[in-house]
């Protein structure tokens, strides 16, 4: 349903006041993935790995530097504003911070209604009915329509954000860390709701998260990002049980297990050092500076993301 090919997003940073040399920050440096209808694909990785930038570039919030986003048969990465509008309706986004992503001066009704107005979908009473329908769809009460975001808890605000995203009946929803800012018990409410909505409307999700246990719970496929690159992609069970890339192994082993007996038995692969700067990435494999397996070839050539098993891709010279 959606196919991303070789997507790159580079930011030009100018040094000094008079322009001078520009440096290139390669936030996303060649990401390819495809998501089928009604499926959930998760992008995981640590802060600064480019997962949010990748998601936003797919949604055309950022202009891609290179690559293609094929959606409904068209490459939407090159469309102009006007041509893009119908695709914007089919593709919506839920943001991480329900405090920052809702206008504090607008009521819930206005926030949800705005999405309807932009796409000129409903008018008058029909519009009011639709707003109430959406508000109850996300588990809020109809008298919440006239309230402002500050009157709600974090979980309720995230529900408003979801109602806004669903207002235009999208097919594809990008969820950027939708539960990171919420309490544990509230996270489960939101995840269950996203799952129910997916079933009800056959929604396709691109889920961006660093919460590996939730990713395991919700995803069909998972892509692991490191320093702007996708280093491994596989079905969720395959990835969690048979990961091939050394970074994936380290990342998954670092996640604490909420089960004391298993936690006592678990062994962890420690990673030394920090993530290199994306302004000055290492030659060859982006992970080689922290990889215990790194050999000469890793500095010389960048490993391609290639199939290591059916439906399982990894970008490592030794992952075969």
């Amino acid at each position: 349903m959606i196919e991303v090919k070789g997507l790159k997003k580079h930011f030009e940073l100018r040094n000094g006041f008079f322009g001078g040399k520009t440096r290139t920050l390669k936030a996303v440096d060649g990401v390819s993935l495809s998501i089928g209808k009604g499926e959930t694909f998760s992008l995981v990785g640590e802060s600064g790995c480019g997962k949010t930038t990748a998601a936003r570039t797919i949604a055309r919030i950022y202009e891609p530097t290179e690559g293609a986003v094929i959606y409904g048969g068209a490459d939407i990465s090159r469309l102009g504003r006007k041509e893009l509008l119908p695709y914007r309706k089919r593709m919506q986004m839920i943001f991480q911070d329900p405090y920052a992503s809702l206008d504090p001066r607008m009521t819930v009704g206005e926030i949800v209604g705005e999405a309807l107005d932009i796409h000129a979908l409903r008018r008058g009473k029909d519009r009011e009915d639709r707003i109430r329908e959406l508000v109850s769809l996300v588990g809020l009460k109809s008298d919440h329509v006239g309230r402002y975001p500050h009157e709600f808890s974090g979980g309720q605000r995230q529900r408003v954000g979801i109602a806004r995203a669903l207002a235009v009946e999208p097919e594809f929803v990008i969820c950027d860390e939708p539960i990171s800012a919420l309490d544990v018990s509230i996270q489960a409410q939101i995840i269950n709701m996203l799952e129910e909505l997916q079933e009800k409307f056959r929604l396709t999700y691109l889920f961006v998260s660093h919460d590996l246990s939730m990713v395991r719970h919700i995803s069909r496929d998972v892509g692991v990002m490191y320093l702007g690159n996708l280093v491994e992609v596989a079905g969720v069970d395959e990835l969690f049980s048979g990961m091939r890339h050394p970074y994936t192994k380290a990342l998954l082993s670092a996640a604490p297990i909420a089960d004391p007996r298993r936690a006592r038995e678990a062994s962890r692969i420690a990673l030394s050092g920090d993530v290199p700067s994306p302004l000055d990435p290492p030659s060859g494999c982006p992970f080689r500076t922290r990889c215990a397996m790194a050999k000469g070839i890793c500095a010389e050539s960048k490993p391609e993301l290639k199939a290591v098993a059916e439906g399982h891709l990894a970008a490592c010279h030794f992952a075969g």
Partner: protein, 172 residues
């Protein structure tokens, strides 16, 4: 930060959500550091956290707080495998099953925490509790001793309640 905290070789370190904003690999480094303090310097640690994974892998004893009270306390295994308070069941049910196995549906706790400016008369959790009885809204439940190390504050544990539901019946 940690260096400042341990500069004068304290006997006790209070770590308030020490890894909440961190990535998992960095979190693992910080937790290793704390474990090192505990093992090498015999420092005691009070860890304040909402991350059940961090708690399971770091703690020997756990206190679960709700509405300003400790509603259940025990050894880490007692809390994770023999939880007795409905709020503890709620927390454990809210997270995905660790490790392998088919994904079960998450069981969230309905509603949101009470307003402590106007605390409820009885048990603070009663309004969100699926097992709440009439007494729960009226009176604060007493502390029940479940073992030498395990305690909980819940009316369900009162001997007058006919049958105490097990953790399995609670859907865990």
């Amino acid at each position: 930060m940690i260096a400042i905290a341990i500069a004068c070789e304290p006997k006790l370190v209070i770590a308030d959500e020490p890894t909440t904003a961190l990535d998992v690999t960095i979190q693992a480094q910080i937790l290793d550091l704390l474990r090192g303090l505990k093992d090498k310097l015999e420092t005691s640690i009070v860890l304040i956290s909402h991350d059940l994974g961090v708690i399971a892998s770091m703690c020997s004893r756990v206190f679960i707080m709700y509405g300003g009270r400790v509603v259940e306390s025990g050894l880490v295994d007692e809390i994770f495998y023999e939880a007795s308070h409905p709020y503890a069941w709620g927390l454990l049910g809210s997270i995905p099953e660790p490790g392998e196995g088919r994904r079960r549906k998450l069981v969230p706790i309905p509603g949101s925490p009470p307003d402590l400016m106007a605390p409820p008369a009885g048990c603070a959790f009663a309004a969100r509790c699926a097992k709440a009885m009439r007494v729960c809204a009226r009176e604060q439940p007493p502390v029940t001793r479940l073992s030498a190390t395990h305690r909980a504050e819940c009316w369900l544990l009162d001997p007058r309640v006919a049958k105490r539901p097990s953790a399995e019946e609670a859907g865990l």
